[in-house]
Assembly symmetry: C2
Homo-oligomer: 269 residues x 2
């Protein structure tokens, strides 16, 4: 596969990063995962807006234009002969010396990779992580950072329990999201998704659905989830019905009608 | 500088890691910082014990013997002509494909670096971070992981306020530690340090002092810190008096007598 590393198209076999890159030594950076179909990255401007906001918050220079990144994505897909792809854009703070303080002159690392798009829309059976919790008291809960280890241990926990994913509670014991998805529940008269204040990542698909279906973010208890009619998970790659939690069915334990209609809407976006 | 990368001694200029290394893409790994004096790493067995415990928890294979790592450290110091050094051992999960689930066959990355030891024992003026909090609800608060970004943003906050470091509150608003140090306070009749349950990293120097001075870990409020006679910060590189917090003096605002005596004890270990 060809990747783009700091503006250079290069074979992934020949590309590497410094052992002093703070992305590697300290998880000091951010990333975006973008779905691309028919040679076109979806919701590109939204992803870039979020990424630039995150880079600004972390004070990581990000001086490449959206147009240049868009061009790189289409070039990558062409050279890798991908019509549909998952694009990952990784921005780390670049090389640093020992310690936490960033260097005065930062030279960030920008990596773009592409792999064949493969979306999983099968009904998901999940657990609620007992091992860890989302820290809604940290602004990083609202940023897709390279410091992703809490999600990994929750995902490992799900693997151990032969489950598809793990939901994360926040430190107050209310629902935040899953290791890679936002969470939505459908009750009798409304759709609910946990708010950013509760520790939910401001997902791009989440944002689109909230607008389209006039969904208000709020706090969400496990009880409310378990009493809901339907539930589903979203990320930039797609929507997945959520049919059971810790072995207990949500609603009928099958993909619900409303979820199906929302999945159809998503496929047309 | 010469470093050791996966068992090979190599110039840092020639060494690099894969763009797919999960240390880089997901902060999926751990590290230790070890003080070495007179060609000898200090509390080596304690560091290795903690590192192996962390690797086991995260399910990262770590099959190199302590003897082999010790030998590498002394070789590194020799070849880099360092009598005293800061050794950093980084263990990442190694290469992975897209997604959070670790590969079936893990091939971790092990990196050892050394730089000249420089300890800062000057009295520290710190802030309490307003930007983020330590997540004591995550087991990662007790592990030195590569997902270190919460510490970085708190340290950046300290830099902005021209302060030496930032203390982190846990999600309950009690003290945990600083971005790179454990915290100790001295009251009339005892020494207190926040417990691991409160979000404190189980530091090696902390562990030594707790044993030597019969210190019990417990919860610690900001009020108690501000009423204390003396306070100090510890990590594997040394002990630093803590003389003010958010511009308010601790005790006399000078390095206290008890702190001086503990610093002396540390110098002899």
């Amino acid at each position: 596969m060809i990747v783009s590393l700091n503006g250079v198209m290069i074979s992934d076999q020949d590309s590497s990063i410094s052992i002093y890159d703070r992305g590697f030594t300290l998880g000091d950076g951010i990333f975006e995962t973008i779905r691309a179909e028919n040679h076109e990255p979806k919701f590109f401007d939204h992803h870039m807006l979020r990424m630039r906001k995150s880079a600004k918050f972390l004070n990581i220079p990000f001086n490449i234009t959206n147009a240049a990144i868009y061009k790189t994505i289409t070039e990558l897909m062409n050279v890798n002969q991908l019509q549909s792809a998952v694009i990952r854009i990784t921005l780390s703070r670049g090389k640093g010396t020992r310690g936490l303080v960033p260097p005065t002159h930062q030279s960030p690392t920008l990596l773009l990779t592409s792999v064949q798009l493969a979306t999983n829309t099968a009904p998901a059976n999940v657990i609620i992580s007992k091992k860890t919790r989302r820290n809604e008291c940290s602004p990083l809960s609202r940023i897709k950072t390279l410091s992703y280890l809490d999600n990994i241990i929750a995902r490992q926990e799900a693997e151990t329990e032969q489950s598809d994913d793990a939901l994360l509670l926040n430190t107050q014991g209310r629902l935040a999201d899953s290791t890679i998805c936002n969470l939505f529940v459908i009750t009798d008269n409304c759709i609910i998704t946990p708010s950013e204040e509760e520790g939910a990542l401001p997902g791009i698909t989440r944002q689109q659905l909230m607008k389209e279906y006039n969904i208000k973010a709020q706090s969400l208890t496990v009880e409310k989830l378990m009493e809901s009619k339907e539930a589903f998970l979203t990320n930039s790659l797609g929507i997945r019905p959520l049919v059971s939690v810790d072995g207990n069915p949500i609603g009928s334990g099958q993909t619900g009608q409303k979820t199906k209609s929302i999945m159809k809407y998503f496929q047309t976006t």
